[in-house]
């Protein structure tokens, strides 16, 4: 089944891919054993991908619990 954005519209293939990247980064950012070079850069990347998810109505949530 096609995934939907916040307004209930089907995601385009590019949007689906972007949402997957966002979700993956979120899951990686929550891992406790990353070295600083990975942890901080993943968090920066996740903060950037949050902007994409917010701009394209893919997801809207807070990320403070994963330190972003």
């Amino acid at each position: 089944m096609a995934r939907l954005d916040l307004l209930g519209r089907p995601l385009t293939p590019a949007e689906t891919q972007l949402l997957e990247i966002y979700t993956t980064l979120k899951s990686v950012a929550a891992q406790p054993d990353l070295p600083p070079c990975a942890e901080r850069n993943v968090k920066q990347a996740l903060a950037s991908m949050w902007q994409v998810a917010n701009d394209l109505d893919l997801e809207f949530e807070q990320l403070y619990d994963v330190g972003v």
């Binding site: 916040l6 917010n54 701009d55 394209l56 109505d57 403070y64």
Partner: protein
């Protein structure tokens, strides 16, 4: 594709009004659930007002939420210094600290941002800067001091994100900046309108005509209302030979919420997928329709560290429909940008000045008998002068007092320079009721 579109976010900037309202509702509900759960400030006030986020069935239900004011925020900060009860997240998650002048004295309003919020701040500037026509090929000079005042910080990172060549000039002189504009082929200038005019004046004194001799094409102005005042804009465009766009924000939200697009419709589009902007009567709570002079109330959907929900700004605006502009954006417009204030706050060279905050510092000096705050325009620049009358027999204190005020007043106002002058005995007016110690002699803006 990306360089060809005139919108930073084509999907949301062209949503139908109905879709926009629906999106705002979804975001508002989630933000309020978050704030209710995590911000002691909001939870306490909402419980007192019998409001719960479950009551938000449409975006119109926002009217069930109690307003918050700058005074409420300052009180919450005083209750639990240094950051108060508004933050929804512990301080150790913050990566940025900024301040804006307080309303009552030396204590500033303190603002924190996380990594995600800080990037969102730049993202909002991208809507405006891209929408005005800035592209990766542009060379952008920031005439900005890079202090705790939020100013153009977000714009700087927005231009980096867009891919421009960014020239910070924090410690530079006006002469040095003129030279950089010429030597580096600067195409875009970001500054306050006042400073942009001063730069043109400095260039003229150096024998340079920026309109003729430079590659400037675009000027992004913010921090003062000048960019939307037709006479000021004409003067800027003529002196710099460039198009001028007004973009307005506030430290309380950390970024801009409105911008003038490349069509220059005589107003600024609201970024409505990230802000809910209500217009209400300034002396009450009734919503006002398009075309009425109103107070703007902002809800910021992007910053969860410090959830700003139904914040009364005291800004004077006139909202008009998005259809007044042919650019295709569906975000409504504030005609003439931020046209002024409903309270006694004054903007001086981009810094907020509250007369009562100045008074509380001046009155700490027991030798002061009477004082007056005088705002003038010297050439293109606003000046703020505090005239002091000393009590009889206290003249010996003047040198020490002058030095103290010349330090304490700027310290409480993000470094804004104050002129402090001794007034002759009995030269300043005395008041029995409703003292008016601020005299604003600057020309009145005409937005027509």
């Amino acid at each position: 594709m990306s360089n060809r579109t005139e919108y930073w976010n084509p999907k949301n900037e062209t949503l139908s009004r109905e879709e926009l309202r629906s999106l705002q509702h979804r975001k508002l509900k989630r933000l309020c659930e978050w704030a209710y759960e995590r911000s002691p400030f909001h939870r306490r006030r909402w419980e007192k007002a019998a409001f719960h986020p479950d009551q938000l069935r449409t975006v119109a239900d926002i009217q069930r939420i109690p307003f918050m004011t700058r005074e409420d925020w300052m009180d919450a900060q005083a209750e639990e210094p240094p950051f108060g009860t508004l933050p929804a997240v512990p301080r150790d998650l913050a990566i940025r600290y900024h301040t804006t002048s307080g309303t009552t004295g030396r204590t500033p309003l303190r603002v924190l941002d996380s990594t995600k919020d800080w990037q969102w701040i730049a993202e909002m500037w991208c809507y405006g800067i891209w929408g005005f026509g800035v592209r990766p090929s542009d060379v952008v000079l920031f005439a900005f001091s890079y202090g705790t005042f939020i100013g153009f910080w977000g714009a700087h990172y927005a231009c980096e994100k867009i891919g421009c060549l960014v020239l910070p000039s924090g410690g530079g002189t006006s002469e040095g900046r003129v030279k950089s504009i010429l030597d580096m082929g600067v195409t875009t200038l970001c500054s306050t309108p006042t400073y942009a005019l001063r730069l043109a004046q400095t260039a003229a004194e150096m024998g340079v005509d920026l309109a003729r001799d430079s590659r400037l094409e675009k000027v992004v102005v913010s921090g003062e209302s000048g960019g939307s005042i037709p006479a000021v804009k004409r003067q800027l465009e003529s002196a710099l030979g460039a198009k001028v766009s007004d973009m307005a924000g506030m430290t309380e939200i950390g970024t801009i919420m409105i911008f003038e697009c490349a069509n220059q419709p005589g107003g600024t589009h609201i970024i409505e997928d990230n802000f809910i902007e209500e217009t209400i009567e300034h002396d009450g709570e009734r919503p006002l329709p398009y075309g009425e002079r109103a107070e703007r109330v902002v809800t910021s959907l992007g910053r969860g560290f410090i959830p700003l929900i139904r914040y009364r700004t005291k800004d004077l605006v006139v909202k008009i429909p998005h259809s007044s502009c042919a650019c295709g954006r569906t975000g409504d417009i504030y005609h003439g940008g931020i046209q002024g204030r409903w309270d006694d706050m004054k903007l001086v060279r981009g810094t907020n000045v509250y007369p009562r905050a100045v008074e509380s510092i001046v009155r700490e000096c027991r030798a002061v008998d009477e004082f007056q705050i005088l705002l003038t325009r010297e050439g293109v620049q606003d000046e703020i002068t505090v005239l002091i009358e000393l009590k009889p027999g206290r003249e010996d204190h003047w040198t020490e007092l002058e030095g103290r005020l010349c330090k304490d007043l700027p310290d409480a106002h993000e470094g804004l320079r104050f002129n402090v002058r001794l007034a002759e005995r009995n030269s300043l007016p005395r008041f029995e009721l409703k003292a008016k110690r601020l005299v604003d002699k600057r020309p009145v803006a005409d937005f027509t």
